[in-house]
Point group: C2
Chain length 427, copies 2
């Protein structure tokens, strides 16, 4: 049996698990790939840090020496970030080495350049671990659903924010307290910006949109709102209406055939399959023309789950070295445009604090009518001389809705617009 | 661009949709596979039946003429059943043609022979549509999770029985009434035996077990119980305990490293991801060593969803003709044994009608103790001189449990053993 030599760039939490599993599952991996997979070199920043189960003899602080080593057949990149990961991967391709990466930011920003270089070198680029960790979702999109047309994807692709929103929903906790709890338990980082502001989810949304619609979509194309403004009241109101708030990465085709791609908190029905995705779990809900509705659920992060996804890809690129063939290249033949966020069509739940006097609802309804935003339900609750209006719209244009909200804020009878939340999925 | 000629065996509900989608998605399929896919011949039993969207000129009643046609590159088999599907597929292989099939019964009974013939001919055998219709589950098992170890699979893989059990759960309907309703709506066939007795699910369980544990498992290896004995009372009692009854296809590794593979109704917690799988939807819940818990959810049957899965496979085998390579062969290197059902370890919920007099619980508890079956909870409800005991056991051996139940039935204080149901998953 042939031996394929593997070089790994980076050796943090995920890398350590990959190294461990490559040894622990050696015989299995060999019989599944058709080759002995041998980890021969690991690039790290600091040679002094002890890494469990990774022999010191494998370590080097010269990453270039790995991608330029003619003895090495396959590369695993788990450094993360743009540079030097990008340059190292491009050099790997130039040197004829296929690459597995878990680097969502790099793919979401520089996917086109990577794909092109891989294609020119006729080598593989695999990245299942980049979206939703261990959950096989990219392979189904790249391979299983290629005979179908994806219409829409809604994903819970960030475990930190889902953990926070789950706590807010189940214990009535405020955002700040839920975040602190998540940090204490290791579900959120000390600097939580990338998670709570939806940056991480946007990278994943871009990758999902590219694969779903066979077009180039980068993280810059993704409209983004985080969850920092979600209040305990928002959650409580949602609950009373049998809804739950989730941070969703959404991508869909608009009526004019453009790609809408966005990350924002959204209300969904408690009977929607995504509603029962709790804590740090991830799930991707896919709607395809022929296959209908599907959902892929599992662990979205963590060293071992991510390593599992990386090894699945490693076996794929190893098999290609052994039996020939090559994985899917970039599929961008559709070249669809990105729809501006203003053209997004969805429903909205709007909470207004208003004066409790006759004619308020009339003035409010007039503003909606002016902008052709149709109201589905209104609930009015009074308390003294103030009242709260909870308004659910029918499907409406985002720009019409924004104009409506702006004008509502200027109405004398409206004290303030307490919240505006999108409503997604069937209710 | 190369043209690959496709021959299709069978043209029922699924075949008609495949033919339609091959035309409707022609350009997409070409850019994804690298070849024009042209349906050139379709074998049917009765040439006189009109098939929507399938030109009469393509039809033949001589299936052998397709698999022996040197002009035809790829074969789709959607006849179903063992013969003549098996012979036609084997001839296709012998003639160097890769095959996509949706034939679960054939794979579950004759998978080894098919795999061997495909391997000898160095061609592909793909069958995503055979389990859980449109849901990509076999590709994830065959490819994405190859670097991991599956520990357990629990699947709702039969839409008819899930529809019936959903109705029983949601409306308190008796089995017979729910079945009639399912038949009226087209969710159950006039002769529902294959579905309600778990035969269809057993075929799928065998396929899932083979892929999960890299061993040959046939439908004969699967222990099977259907749902015909489930009563409205069983459902009601389950509901009161926050449990729900599902027909599950389960396969897992026993402590002694054997494969337990079985299809039977089981109680699961209402918070389990499988509990929210309603009506005719399917879902497969997978537990792997590194990836952890995953679930794959979607439509398990229907012409269009099944056609979507077949086309995904067709693109895969077409790509191999264009760029080289070949799909995974049979992975049976582990050669694990099948555990007898008596060695299954699970929990049980037992309902006993007993005389309501002092000492009854003592006698009943004594029988459990004799067989080393440990009781977790007992609930006793009295009505006149009779009472009902609802007993949940800790994890126990199936043979010990059977012996316990047998002895309970012979106890003078026990009027009858009203039901014995397995309890699966964390509660």
């Amino acid at each position: 049996m042939k031996t394929l030599k593997v070089g790994m760039l980076g050796c943090g939490n995920v890398g350590t698990q990959i190294a461990r599993l490559l040894l622990a599952n050696k015989a299995d991996l060999a019989s599944r790939s058709g080759a002995q997979l041998e980890l021969v070199k690991v690039a790290v920043k600091d040679l002094k840090i002890k890494r469990d189960g990774v022999s010191n003899a494998l370590l080097t602080d010269d990453a270039a020496s790995i991608v330029n080593d003619p003895e090495i057949d396959l590369i695993i990149e788990v450094i993360g970030g743009i540079s030097p990961a990008k340059e190292l991967i491009l050099t790997s391709f130039k040197n004829g080495k296929s690459v597995v990466t878990a680097n969502k930011a790099l793919l979401a920003q520089e996917g086109a350049a990577l794909y092109q270089a891989a294609s020119e070198a006729n080598v593989d680029l695999y990245y299942e671990a980049a979206v939703a960790g261990a959950i096989p979702i990219l392979r189904p999109l790249r391979e299983s659903l290629v005979g179908d047309h994806v219409k829409r994807i809604m994903g819970i692709v960030n475990g930190t924010t889902n953990y926070i929103l789950t706590k807010m929903d189940e214990s009535g906790t405020a955002f700040e307290d839920a975040l602190k709890q998540a940090q204490l338990l290791g579900f959120a980082e000390a600097n939580p910006t990338a998670d709570v502001e939806g940056i991480d989810a946007s990278d994943k949304a871009a990758i999902l949109a590219s694969l779903a619609f066979h077009s180039r979509v980068t993280s810059k194309d993704v409209y983004r709102e985080g969850i920092t403004k979600i209040t305990a009241t928002d959650v409580k109101v949602a609950k009373a209406m049998d809804l739950v708030i989730k941070l969703l990465a959404i991508t869909e085709l608009t009526n004019s055939g453009e790609i809408s791609v966005r990350v924002h908190p959204a209300l969904i029905s408690r009977t929607h399959p995504l509603a029962s995705v709790r804590e740090s779990y991830n799930a991707v809900f896919v709607e395809a023309e022929s296959a209908g509705q599907m959902m892929f659920y599992g662990k979205g992060a963590g060293g071992e789950p991510t390593a599992s996804a990386v090894l699945g890809d490693l076996v794929a690129i190893a098999r290609h070295k052994v039996v020939g063939g090559i994985g899917p290249k970039e599929s961008d033949y559709a070249s669809l445009k990105i729809a501006p966020i203003g053209e997004t069509k969805t429903r909205y739940l709007i909470r207004l604090n208003v004066a409790d006097k006759p004619g308020v609802l009339e003035s409010v309804a007039h503003v909606f009518a002016t902008h052709s935003v149709s109201i589905q339900t209104v609930r009015q609750t009074g308390a003294g001389d103030r009242a709260e209006l909870i308004i659910m719209t029918h499907t409406s244009n985002e720009s019409a809705l924004s104009a409506t909200v702006k004008e509502l804020g200027n109405l004398p009878v409206v004290t303030d617009v307490a919240s505006v939340l999108r409503v997604e999925g069937a209710i």
